[in-house]
Symmetry: C2
Amino acid sequence: MIVESSLTETRRIVRAARQQGRSVGCVPTMGALHKGHVSLIENARKDCDFIVATIFINPTQFGPNEDFTRYPRTLDADLELCRAAGADLIFTPPVSAMYAESAQTIVRVTRMAQVLEGAHRPGHFDGVSTVVTKLFNVTEPDRAYFGQKDFQQQLIIRQMVLDLDEPVEIITCPTIREADGLAMSSRNRFLSVDERQRASQLFHTLKLAESLAAESTLTPPEIAQQMTNHLKSVNGIDVQYAVIADSATLECLAERSDFAVALVAAKVGSTRLIDNQILRFR
Amino acid sequence: MIVESSLTETRRIVRAARQQGRSVGCVPTMGALHKGHVSLIENARKDCDFIVATIFINPTQFGPNEDFTRYPRTLDADLELCRAAGADLIFTPPVSAMYAESAQTIVRVTRMAQVLEGAHRPGHFDGVSTVVTKLFNVTEPDRAYFGQKDFQQQLIIRQMVLDLDEPVEIITCPTIREADGLAMSSRNRFLSVDERQRASQLFHTLKLAESLAAESTLTPPEIAQQMTNHLKSVNGIDVQYAVIADSATLECLAERSDFAVALVAAKVGSTRLIDNQILRFR
């Protein structure tokens, strides 16, 4: 496994692999890797001959009052996980190599990036779509792998790739969960024992939505209200949103639909968590 | 020479050429080709083994009150010029293939795209940078060729390529001029005989700036004032700007500099023309 911080050298190594006829899979990460990331690399390993994981804590996707500085940095452990999962190349650029002082270009997905996470984290998705475009341009993958946990993110990246004709296929991989259902996240390590226990209520809220969709005749707004009520009944959870949206456009659903996703965001103590669940209405 | 309107087929043809070890040059155009475009294709022919010219009148770079509908469409003559200049592949996508109804992604260069043309044509450069990114993603060229006549455009595309790590080298080719100095432009055909004669005053204004820079001790603002005065002395020319700017950032220059460009924009009758000249101060 090669660890490389230079953009041009990374591009050269990937191109050499492609020259040998190997297909290229890319797994963009911000480090602080967990089993969710490992499963992305393992999925890439199944489909592709040469796997590039990128580790870059992208400053432009954090708001001024967000947790960029405290975001966990665990490079040695990350590299070990990447090696064990079968990555061939780890691209770890410094911030200065990714963003020159003169940099002034953004890639912006408009409508879909304004709701939900986009509404709560202004500018976040501009940072995501811009850095992902850059990472694709450096690593030139055939396929790139994202987790379903960040549902809106993978949808926005799919939209961007479609709209800009980026020559890469986006693969969304299932959310990996702890035993009690909490979605794996690099931010889970910020939770106290108490908060960690409460955090699984996001999952239980989604399970509630899933069963109400499958077994009741409630409308999406009615189910969303029950989700909100459920979350609000837990002390120490600050609900940011609990909605049922069209799983292709993220527009909130008024009526039952074959393309529905329940999405929640909540602060547990000072840690902001998100999760989601595809719904099947009966 | 192949003429192809499908994105996927164009990508396949270019990739097949690359597979054979051929380097790829791209010349993006909006058709209505003239000797300026021909020189771009000829320059590409010198550097590259496989030349793709694109012909696409991009609606998103025209403002609501601009000349999208009257922009000249001369496909048969364009293809003849491309063939004679040595292009291998002409990509002529329909608007519907480039912009789905669901499309919502823009590539935006910020600072540099807000001045001069950007100030007079709001949204114009969003359209340019977005479509050029798309054309690069479809044709995956090693090099792409732009005319110096659109000075701000080539600078913005360079900035975008740099900022987004797009794997393409931008080559700027000299402006091609008529005998009286008027820069070749697809819009010149809109000029009446009378307007056509007056239009060469843009060039003479730039020559005035060039000689004042080389031979006087005037500052850039003083020279710019003389340019404006000169243009205003011509009946039927509506000056939009006449400035001397830093040739890398497009910020207006207060002092003489080694990196200076004079830029003019003016309406001659109903036709908007632009031109520019790199300056060498003595």
